[in-house]
């Protein structure tokens, strides 16, 4: 702040800042509206509810932000959630899982994430090695990933009661949902990854100018695959959280339409679809805005169909503010 020269007139400086923080402004507007209108908004429980609901979108949106930073997009996140979510109960409800509960629990956390990682490798390889356009490349798993999950479970809803596993979704630390802390921890880790590591530097460079990055010796393929893998693993984690909250895994529903929410959150948070930017905390901000819009409309009894239109307007407005910043 102090390093800025004072040559620019105050006013442009102010409007510039406003644009830079379009997301924060939108957030403030929504918060003020809610405080004034929505009953019982200023309660710790409201905060807890919103945190628990936003965590999964935020986690997936952060992964999506990395993929978008490379200039790609990942439509398969919802399907990956379904897949990893379907695997976990399969594992801890299996004979092995019931005989060795602790090992079963660990395996139920580990193997679904491995499966998600494989999905990420698959996406990344098609994009980076076969050079297929990301929308189409990830459409493959978008279509068949959920099918695989349903084949594995024969389409059945798997319900269970496993308090240890459910801690992922229902546990609390200092009164706030565990998955909220988890999202923050992941955000810090990814922020570090993007801003302090070589991987992160290459990631942004590839999105900014892929040919230049390659000519400077950047491991373009590996970094791209890495981004898809991280996105998939985070989606897998989000899938586990959803299953944990519900004490049930529903392969048909888990992560349904998540790709749209995650992309919208990432873009509202400041990601550029052409790549080169990875605002991790922006993704969280975007997810929070989308969540709050949903909450506001629901809590005030706005009908579903009107809520859709409101959501459309807000996404357009938020992106327009972001966009104005670039000109």
């Amino acid at each position: 702040m102090t390093s800025l020269t004072s040559e620019e007139p105050m006013r442009t400086d102010f409007t510039n800042r406003l644009k830079q923080h379009g997301g924060l402004v939108a957030l403030a507007v929504i918060l003020i509206f809610n405080i004034l209108v929505t009953p019982n908004f200023l309660q710790a429980q409201t905060l807890a509810v919103n945190i628990s609901q936003v965590a999964t979108i935020a986690i997936v949106a952060m992964g999506m932000t990395l993929v978008i930073a490379t200039g790609g997009i990942d439509l398969s996140v919802g399907a990956v959630m379904a897949l990893s979510g379907a695997l976990a109960p399969l594992i801890f409800l299996s004979d092995f899982g019931t005989t060795y509960p602790v090992l079963g629990l660990l395996a139920a956390l580990f193997f679904p994430l491995v499966a998600a990682l494989v999905c990420g490798l698959f996406n990344g390889a098609i994009v980076a090695v076969l050079k297929v356009q990301p929308i189409i490349a990830t459409l493959i798993l978008f279509i068949s990933g959920r099918g695989i999950a349903q084949v594995l479970t024969n389409g059945n809803l798997q319900t269970f009661s496993n308090p240890e596993f459910s801690y992922l979704g229902t546990g609390k630390i200092l009164g706030f949902p565990f998955q909220g802390w988890l999202a923050i921890a992941i955000a810090c880790l990814l922020f570090w990854l993007v801003n302090r590591t070589i991987f992160g530097r290459y990631l942004l460079a590839i999105g900014g100018n892929e040919r230049a990055a390659k000519l400077s010796g950047g491991p373009v393929r590996r970094v791209k695959i890495g981004a898809y893998v991280i996105c998939s693993v985070l989606s897998g984690l989000a899938g586990l959280i959803v299953v944990a909250i519900n004490s049930a895994s529903d392969a048909a529903r888990n992560g349904n339409l998540m790709e749209l929410d995650a992309i919208a959150a990432a873009v509202v948070g400041g990601a550029l679809l052409q790549g080169g930017k990875a605002p991790i905390f922006g993704a969280i901000l975007g997810a929070v805005i989308i969540q709050l819009v949903k909450y506001t409309l629901l809590a005030n009894g706005v009908e579903d169909e009107v809520a859709l239109i409101a959501k459309a307007v807000i996404i357009l407005a938020a992106v327009y503010i972001q966009q104005a910043r670039k000109e």
Partner: protein, 301 residues
């Protein structure tokens, strides 16, 4: 223009055009048809329209092209499936509608299709309302309603049946009615939110058991005691719901049985034998309450 006849034979090529497979109820229904196939002498072609009425019509078309003898069709929507019914008739294939019907102004049982096999969604909603009116003990019933998929006929009908009956009693007030898309996860999220906005709620009516279970989870997460300070009522009769009733967390669920296979087989055989089938083969929906839940839980899906 009478109904196409059905000859009596050992094996039938039977089409079952399922509308979607994204909830346990539909899955149980499809499974019921598959389970019945062997004993009833069916060579079953089962398709899945993935939630699209248009695709369901196309699926029926491809079954007609394959020359099925009988069609069982749970129409996704009342109106858009009418062409499918008419095409089947034109191709000489007797059609039985299952679990949902089509617009009676455009296609009639006994004329365009043989019969409708199923329950009455409006009546299901009404029965939930009646049980609630009888069994609610407080002075003032503050109701949150979790609706099914916006625009779907069970959602519309279950809402209508319940709303019409419950508003006749001035003790009750519906303070919020929002869609949970028939899904557990969304039911929970919507309930969490509505609970914040309307902390005084003491009755939750969900259009299906999945959302009811989601609501129970939301209540528990918020530190409420479902069954004690909040009454949860719903429709379907799933195993999880019956368990919740046994555990005292839920008040009632009106059965909406997905096990149509045996009924379909029986009705088809009657029709082949030349019987005139009643236009609406009613399914007897039971009602599961704390009194009988334990007895029936093993039959539930």
């Amino acid at each position: 223009s009478g109904l196409p006849p059905l000859e009596q034979k050992d094996r039938y090529k039977v089409g079952f055009a399922q509308m979607e497979s994204n909830n346990p109820w539909r899955i149980a229904e499809t499974k019921s048809f598959h389970d019945t196939a062997d004993s009833c002498g069916w060579d079953l072609i089962a398709t899945d329209a993935a939630g699209s009425a248009a695709k369901q019509v196309a699926d029926v078309d491809s079954m007609i092209a394959q020359g099925i003898d009988v069609l069982f069709l749970p129409p996704r929507e009342e109106k858009p499936l009418i062409p499918a019914v008419k095409k089947a008739k034109a191709a000489g294939i007797p059609t039985f509608l299952v679990d949902r019907s089509v617009d009676p102004n455009a296609a009639k049982p006994g004329e365009d299709f043989v019969a409708f096999l199923g329950s009455d969604f409006i009546d299901q909603g009404r029965r939930v309302a009646e049980w609630t009116i009888e069994n609610f003990e407080g002075d003032k019933g503050v109701i949150v309603q979790l609706e099914g998929t916006t625009g779907s006929s069970p959602a519309n009908d279950r809402k209508k049946g319940f709303d019409d009956r419950i508003t006749q009693d001035s003790r009750f007030e519906i303070v919020a009615s929002q869609s949970g898309d028939f899904a557990r996860d969304l039911g929970r999220q919507v309930m969490e939110t509505l609970l914040q906005a309307h902390p005084d709620v003491n009755i939750v009516y969900a259009h299906n058991d999945e959302m009811a279970i989601g609501a129970i989870q939301a209540l528990e997460l918020a530190g409420r005691k479902p069954g004690q300070d909040v009454l949860v009522v719903s429709i379907d009769g799933t195993r999880d719901a019956l368990q919740a009733i046994i555990d005292g967390k839920m008040g009632v669920t009106v059965e909406s049985s997905p096990f149509f296979g045996p009924l379909a087989c029986e009705t088809m055989k009657r029709y082949a034998a030349g019987e005139t089938i009643e236009p609406w083969v009613q399914v007897k929906d039971r009602i599961f309450t704390p009194e009988n839940a334990a007895k029936h839980i093993d039959e539930a899906y």
